[in-house]
Amino acid sequence: MTQSAVTEAPVTGVDPPAVGRDLRRRWILLAVGLTAALVLPWFIYPPVAMDIVAMALFAIALDILLGYTGLLSFGHAAFWGSSAYVTGLIATHYGVPFPVAVIGGAVFAMILAVPLGYLSVRRSGIYFAMVTLAFAQMVYFIGYQWSDLTGGENGLQGVPRSFFGIDLVETDSFYFYYAALPILLLGMWAAWRIVHSPFGRVLMSIRDNTPRARALGYEVEKYKLIAFVLSAGLTGLAGGVFAINHGFVALTELHWSTSGEVVLMAVLGGIGTLWGGVLGAFLAVMLADYLASSGFHGIDLVTGTVFILVVLLFRRGLWGTVRHRWLVRQQRRTAAAGPAER
């Protein structure tokens, strides 16, 4: 009798990537996802649609660390928020087209990630989470104190949305969505490339068995640091677009609750899947938006409850569970088709 790698293996709660590499299914998913991204602002208020896609990239960027490297960062608000501020400041003071400002913000997030990552990746497990949280709190404190630059508690107001003088994009959030979407999709593509690269394979081996990876000669800390910086950069892209989308940067973007929210989205959707981040962000933003527009005030209570329920009922998150079921079914079919080699 064959055991199943899918049901037995995941100590990490992450499914084997090797099972069920079905290319056709991948392309269909991609087509569905892209179509959804393209029609989203027809069905959802465009600024909210933009938030969904930005948050999706945020969750995906976090997942590079959480799902693929096995590092729980609880300080990603530092990169999201600082990029939002830097993007806002560049846009305000230099009047450059917004994509340039966003890239500036992302670069800043990456630069910030170098020392923070350097000091964090030497820790693992809960200690890594604590160190990242502590650093993010420092960044929050700087944002709060340096109010000449950041507007302190009032936030950074009146961030312009320049786009080569194209009026429609600059004034209409529907068109802005389509102008900003390529940046976020590019970020998602980059995340996909990273996790499906030789580098990504090393990250997964570090996640699965760090001592073994070391014994093979892998300089684990270097890999973790690079993953950290890349994750911060993609987070920065998302945070920058978010800032331009709102024309405003609130101090909340640096707050620890933002770090918690993105962890929640990633876990809700399912870590180590990339698509999980998209699903998690979609659900979390839609739920928050629905509750807010119905005048409900206990948003955190409801999202928190949903989160706990999902984690209890679906250990692998929503997308992770769907994927897992699919893999098990596929494996059964393969097993039935031919006698398994033992």
């Binding site: 790698a5 099972v19 068995n209 990876a213």
Partner: protein, 257 residues
């Protein structure tokens, strides 16, 4: 960097190597010398400190005191990846694999370990499979080729042990440390593994821990017996086997011999 000395060249030399765990001396003032090109067996009852010694030699543990020289270079206190990059590969006593990857992916990872290809986050993972012939040759050597694309979670215990060996081999090491490579294997697998180790030992130095005396007897040029963290005896297999102290030390462990 060839420090040629009058006597045979030395692959590993430890001086007064000691590891203390909360007052317990797991490795106690060990002076070990492994000649280059030899197969050197490390035997001793359970808890003698063999695995701890391996962990010290490969940087997984930092010695409490003493020094470690590998190919005449001081590696004391260096992290595992640095030691690995000096051509030292180890297998793990407790099978230690990446549960979600296939055998093929394991070997691909091992082949890439000493290069800088692993940093290429902008390339496709297909790059890893470029040296297909070499990957398949390594899997063939340990008899795993037909199982190459199974996640290792599905492999039998003996097959996992074999994969461990192929990972060590993939590193093309100058020095191999094998921690109980035949533990839990059936008799045919043991024979095959002995042949495999004999073959791969050519031109390399091997330090081998094994409880199976047939394995030790047929492979080892020299044997060091450890007991309670100390070296009890050392010499050629036949000499050590008949040493009275060794026989006494092993009496309680007769089932392993």
């Amino acid at each position: 960097m060839l420090a040629v000395t009058a006597d045979a060249r030395v692959a590993v030399r430890t001086r007064a190597l000691t590891k203390v765990f909360r007052g317990f001396r797991a490795v106690d003032a060990v002076d070990l010398e492994v000649r280059e090109g030899s197969v050197h067996a490390l035997v001793g009852p359970n808890g003698a400190g063999k695995t701890t010694l391996f962990n010290l030699l490969t940087g997984f543990l930092t010695p409490t005191s003493g020094t470690i020289l590998v190919f005449d270079e001081d590696v004391t206190g260096q992290p595992p990846e640095r030691v690995a990059r000096r051509g030292v590969a180890r297998s793990f006593q407790i099978t230690s694999l990446f549960e979600t990857l296939t055998s093929r992916e394991h070997v691909e990872l091992a082949l890439q370990g000493l290069t800088s290809q692993g940093f290429r986050f902008w390339r496709s993972e297909k790059l890893l499979g470029r040296d297909r012939a070499r990957v398949e040759d390594l899997l063939e050597q340990v008899g795993l080729l037909r199982l190459a694309d199974k996640p290792v979670g599905l492999l039998a215990y003996g097959q996992k042990r074999a994969l461990e060996l192929s990972l060590v081999l993939a590193l093309e090491p100058r020095l191999m440390l094998l921690d109980e490579p035949t533990a839990g294997m059936g008799i045919e697998d043991v024979d095959r593994t002995i042949e495999l180790i004999r073959r791969i030992a050519a031109g390399r130095t091997v330090v081998l821990v094994d409880h199976n005396m047939r394995v030790v007897g047929s492979l080892a040029d020299r044997v060091t017996v450890l007991q309670q963290g100390r070296i009890l005896a050392e010499g050629p297999y036949d000499e050590v086997r008949n040493d009275e102290r060794v026989i006494t030390a092993y009496l309680g462990e007769a089932d392993h011999a």
